[in-house]
């Protein structure tokens, strides 16, 4: 026996709607700040582990695996598509007006990658495609990842 009685009439059952009424301000952090300030100038940087030589993108101040410090290195920001998907649903699982192509892009000169949008026709995209970033106009850049509008075939 779990319960002695239960409500039978469904109109007597209640629910209560609510929202988490907060917003958040995320600082980019030490490495992030360095990257976005460079991006504002149109430059790309990655972080190289001083110990094992692994080059991280997104850059970070530590090597994830040996916990030693890193140093910043310049990269071109261009890369190669490793995988992609054509997303057709929005956050509420309703159809998107225009499908978005997301791609994992291995960046040149790094062991890392970026996940970003591709501006191309879905049927033209292929694994191994060379792509380059398209940035916002210099005066519109805010120091965020969205300063990169999208990647496009190069």
């Amino acid at each position: 026996m779990v319960f002695n009685e239960k409500i039978v009439n469904p109109t007597e059952l209640r629910h209560w709607e609510g929202k988490i009424e907060l917003y958040w301000v995320y600082t980019s952090g030490s490495a992030g700040d360095e990257f976005f300030k460079a991006l504002k100038k149109g430059k790309f940087i990655a972080a190289k582990c001083k110990e094992c030589g692994k080059v991280y993108f997104p850059p970070r101040i530590y090597c994830e695996y040996d916990f030693s410090e890193t140093e910043y290195v310049n990269i071109s920001g261009e890369g190669t598509v490793r995988a992609f998907t054509v997303a057709r649903l929005d956050k509420d699982e309703k159809p998107l007006e225009k499908p978005e192509i997301y791609a994992i892009i291995d960046l040149d000169g790094t062991d890392g990658c970026i996940v970003h949008l591709l501006n191309a026709k879905p049927e033209d995209v292929y694994v191994g495609m060379r792509v380059k970033p398209v940035l916002k106009a210099k005066n519109k850049r805010e120091g965020r990842i969205t300063d990169i509008l999208y990647y496009k075939p190069s």
């Binding site: 649903l89 929005d90 998107l96 997301y102 996940v115 949008l117």
Partner: protein, 381 residues
């Protein structure tokens, strides 16, 4: 010291539960588990563990709302932010470190309470590098992984479809599976492509439910029951939290399985494991996880899937319960439903879907988008 499962209970699993508060589904599952074990939680249990995440529930400190409905008031009670199988690992450690003789693990899903599911998953993504990009549902992240994986392993659409077909049909024999159905390969291939190469039907829909396990050390287990199910091994592992260092090949499951198998003394999983319940919240994940658990070789799994090797009457049945594709995405209770099915099979209490040979079973769960973490538990009689 050996650790046994001496009682299991569950509530659900349903697509929606408009009549019960999440506390009430936890209570239902707990009462059934204590009844099954023949214990009184107010007197006999030394430690209570709940597996939950704040934002799945819509709370800031969910731990507050845990004790009452488990019978845990003023007793050692805690929350593990992880899947149910992480909770099992914690209970295992509580018992082997002598902190507890009897420990209770609970996990639940009240997914139907969440109105903005896509937004909630997106909230788990790195705010600086990933969350801001695009407007699509975060399912895209799993689709990227799928795209890379099927490309690497040359897996075809039909092979992925056969996972859906198997699980949806298995679920038809499971009275607690809300998403079972007579589905054929054609039906899957006709399902709309929503995140190419992923189809809508390959994404597990959400479900509500709660699972409670009672675990005990060897001495107490033998007093409580003549035929305990042993928790032979448990493992959990995290790859990384960053998309750039993730393997996209379920390394987390492989490493967790290695840890669990070592504890259980299993050297050749493909031979020694009789059946398994693996995470299939996206259809391709099942193939990935079968490989990671060492139940078949890389590049061969998809072929074996089509050949019926993993069917209910196949060599190595996988997801006899219907898996997540049949039962639903149970959030942190996903591993709970899997462990529950394994225990029921080992006890011979699985009803119409009972397997003829069930002596060693494995349950595996992943922590969902956007993580690369997961846990594995090995049970045996």
């Amino acid at each position: 010291m050996r650790v046994a499962v001496v009682g299991v209970g569950y509530s659900g699993f349903n697509a929606n539960t408009p009549d019960l508060h999440w506390k009430e589904i936890m209570f239902e599952a707990a009462v059934r588990a204590y009844e099954d074990a023949g214990i009184n939680p107010r007197r006999d249990v030394d430690s209570f563990i709940t597996c939950a995440e704040d934002i799945w529930e819509g709370f800031a400190i969910f731990d507050e709302f845990v004790p009452d409905q488990l019978g845990a008031v003023l007793k050692p009670t805690c929350t593990i932010c992880g899947d149910f199988l992480y909770g099992l690992a914690t209970a295992y450690m509580h018992i082997t470190s002598g902190l507890a003789e009897v420990a209770v693990v609970e996990a639940h899903s009240k997914a139907s309470d969440i109105l903005t599911f896509g937004e909630v998953i997106k909230f788990a993504m790195d705010p600086i590098w990933l969350r801001q990009i695009g407007n699509a549902h975060p399912y895209y992240f799993a689709a990227l992984e799928m795209a890379q994986y099927i490309n690497e392993c040359c897996i075809t659409e039909e092979q992925i479809a056969s996972v859906v077909v198997k699980n949806k049909n298995n679920a038809r024999l499971n009275p607690s599976a809300p998403y079972g159905g007579k589905v054929g390969i054609e039906d899957v291939l006709n399902s709309p492509m929503v995140f190419d190469p992923m189809r809508k039907i390959e994404i597990a829909p959400r479900a509500d439910g709660a699972v409670v396990f009672v675990l005990a050390n060897e001495e107490i287990a033998k007093k409580l029951t003549d035929s305990p199910v042993w928790l032979k091994g448990v493992g959990w592992w995290s790859e990384t939290s960053n998309f750039d260092t993730m393997s996209f090949n379920a390394m987390y499951a492989a490493k967790a399985a290695k840890m669990a198998y070592k504890m259980a003394g299993i050297t050749n999983a493909a031979k020694e494991v009789d059946f398994a319940e693996v995470d299939d919240r996206f259809a391709f994940k099942e193939i990935q996880h079968i490989e990671a658990l060492g139940l078949s070789k890389r590049f061969e799994t998809a072929t074996l899937m089509v050949e019926g090797y993993f069917d209910r009457n196949g060599e190595l049945p996988i997801n006899v319960s219907g898996g997540n594709l049949g039962v639903g995405n149970l959030l942190e209770a996903t591993g709970g439903q899997k462990a529950l099915e394994v225990v029921l099979q080992l006890r011979g209490e699985a009803g119409k879907r009972q397997l003829s040979k069930a002596e060693v079973g494995v349950a595996q769960a992943w922590r969902y988008i956007p993580t690369a973490s997961g846990a594995v538990a090995v049970f045996g009689v």
